[in-house]
């Protein structure tokens, strides 16, 4: 039964990684850049939700929606101001800019919200005060946060698969990720498509931020960095640029991390996670679901 408990927490943590990894993978797929500021957008989302609910007494759902709106706009503004001018620049310049944006967001949070840890309110409590359901006479306890996290992850996955496969914006996104030049010549607005990708990724980051802080309630300006890096790892693990890959990578990474914590060592868990990543990349350099890119010669 403890095994099942660990598995469920692994899936729950993995779901959060998966939602964050989507932001990395979509932006990489379309803009061919690594947006290392993505993790800090999560942190901003969590802070917005925290203040909306704790200080302004908004209902939790309104707090989440507000956080999503703010993060969506933040993602688009960052893209417009920091990355768009570098569209033709070498990828190293863009990468360093992304790291710069990451530090900027962290320090802005430090200035605005101080370094004192905030305790994130627990949203997922039933009317009677329960925080979860107990099964098998209390042997298996699943918290509502866990249930909701997994559920939301599934909903996002289905919605996104629909969006990229069946709508004209989704098709434009896939066209841009293959050949921006040809897409432009077919009348696709490439700038708007990239901007929309950032908007979707950042909106999802806000959801991930709220879920993350509901499960691990300490909120500081660097809250986003470690999950950000783990989710980036998950995206690479699954095959960066691939949406199903981000989900698979996220889930596996979460499960491996929790099992490593439970059965090997709490301190070594991150080392185990990254060791698995290295092994996977040695065997499949493009990630689990990634396609080998043939370089044109």
């Amino acid at each position: 039964m403890t095994f099942l408990n660990f598995l469920i927490s692994g899936i729950s943590l993995g779901s959060i990684y998966a939602i964050i990894a989507l932001g990395y993978t979509m932006v990489y797929g379309i803009a061919k850049m690594l947006n290392f500021a993505h993790g800090d957008v999560i942190m901003v989302g969590a802070y917005i939700c925290f203040y909306a609910v704790s200080r302004f007494d908004l209902p939790p759902l309104a707090g989440v929606i507000l956080a999503m709106l703010v993060c969506t706009v933040l993602g688009m503004v960052v893209e417009r101001l920091a990355y768009k001018p570098l569209r033709q620049a070498p990828s190293l310049a863009v990468l360093i800019t992304a790291i710069g944006v990451s530090y900027f967001l962290q320090n802005m949070a430090l200035l605005l919200w101080s370094s004192n840890p905030k305790v994130f309110p627990g949203f997922f409590v039933s009317a009677s005060g329960d925080t979860g359901v107990e099964l098998f006479g209390g042997e298996l306890k699943i918290s509502y946060v866990t249930l909701f996290t997994i559920l939301i992850c599934i909903v996002i996955m289905l919605a996104l698969t629909w969006f990229t496969g069946r709508t004209k914006m989704g098709k434009a996104m896939r066209a841009c990720s293959e050949d921006k030049g040809a897409a432009q010549l077919m009348g696709i607005n490439v700038d708007a498509t990239i901007s929309m990708t950032f908007a979707i990724g950042s909106g999802l980051a806000a959801i991930a931020g709220v879920l993350l802080c509901s499960a691990y309630p300490t909120l500081v300006p660097t809250t986003g960095s470690m999950p950000g890096i783990k989710a980036f790892t998950a995206a690479v693990f699954g095959g960066i640029g691939s949406i199903p890959g981000a989900f698979l990578g996220g889930l596996l990474l979460g499960i491996i991390e929790i099992f490593a914590k439970a059965y090997i060592s709490t301190q070594l868990s991150d080392a185990v996670v990254f060791a698995v990543l290295i092994i996977v990349l040695l065997v499949k350099p493009a990630g689990l679901l990634g396609k080998q890119i043939r370089e044109k010669v």
């Binding site: 709508t167 098709k171 066209a175």
Partner: protein
């Protein structure tokens, strides 16, 4: 089908049936310089509303560069492009496409991972009117527009007998079908001028014959103008009404197929100078 070429005031010639209509394309002293190299210089060309025109010349003459100028992949250094009488100077690639120029590529540039139908639908993007919210929440506007797009895509594909390939991934199509799909995708953007960059490259004679039929069919069905770059002289001489010959970035001859075939400058460009006896 062939129109008699008649001169227009700009000094070019267009088929006589288009004479009362404003030409679809006028290039006036178009030129571009790449770091001192004049890739295209003093390029003047007028194309009638429903003309099939050819752009020929030896390798490296600047033919594809002209296409890249017309579609604003490169911004011209000098000169003016009038599309249906409208200056395209301030337009970018996407806006030029939406204004009516569509093209295919010398090396096929389909969206390989998308299905055949989706490739065509990408071309329709600008003509589909629904926003992100109707897309996410599947509002009626979404269903309506997607249904129209599906029908239109199928109609276009049926012109080239490709309806049964609609769900196939574009990258897995045979070569000839990929070339046809590129033309369908370009047509899906609803152009008034279609640019074809070496449409017959790599085709066998029977495929080329079919392509000629298709190009005529496109012009007749959609009443649009076609400008094509081609090395296959049989194709060019058979379907083009007006031909423009480019060598070292300069126009060396313009006129009907007969004029071009007997033009000494053209023969020299292709075969070299005749030795003085």
């Amino acid at each position: 089908m062939f129109g008699k070429l008649v001169p227009v005031p700009s000094g070019s010639m267009i088929p006589d049936r288009d004479i009362d209509k404003k030409p679809i394309l006028e290039c006036i002293n178009l030129g571009i310089t790449f770091g001192g190299l004049k890739a295209v210089e003093d390029f003047n060309l007028t194309i009638g509303r429903t003309e099939i025109a050819g752009l020929i010349g030896p390798n490296g003459a600047g033919k594809t560069t002209v296409f890249n100028l017309l579609t604003k992949v490169y911004q011209p250094t000098t000169g003016t492009i009038l599309l249906g009488g409208k200056d395209t100077h301030s337009m970018n690639t996407m806006q030029v496409n939406r204004a009516g120029i569509a093209r295919t590529f010398q090396n096929i540039r389909l969206f390989q991972k998308l299905s055949v139908e989706d490739n065509v639908k990408v071309g329709m993007d600008a003509n589909m009117k629904y926003n992100m919210w109707s897309g996410i929440f599947r509002l009626p506007g979404y269903w309506h527009e997607e249904k129209t797009a599906h029908e239109r895509a199928m109609e276009l594909l049926s012109l080239f007998n490709m309806t049964d390939l609609a769900d196939v991934t574009a990258g897995s199509l045979p070569y000839g079908a990929q070339r046809r799909l590129e033309i369908v995708r370009a047509l899906a953007t609803n152009p008034s001028l279609l640019l074809l960059d070496e449409p017959a490259a790599g085709m066998n004679p029977s495929e080329t014959a079919e392509l000629m039929e298709n190009i005529r069919k496109i012009r007749d069905t959609f009443q649009i103008a076609v400008l094509l770059i081609e090395h296959d002289m049989n194709l060019v001489m058979n379907i083009c009404e007006g031909i423009c010959v480019l060598n070292f970035g300069r126009v060396i001859a313009k006129g009907s197929p007969e004029d071009i075939q007997s033009n000494p400058a053209v023969i020299e460009a292709y075969l070299g100078k005749k030795k003085e006896a």
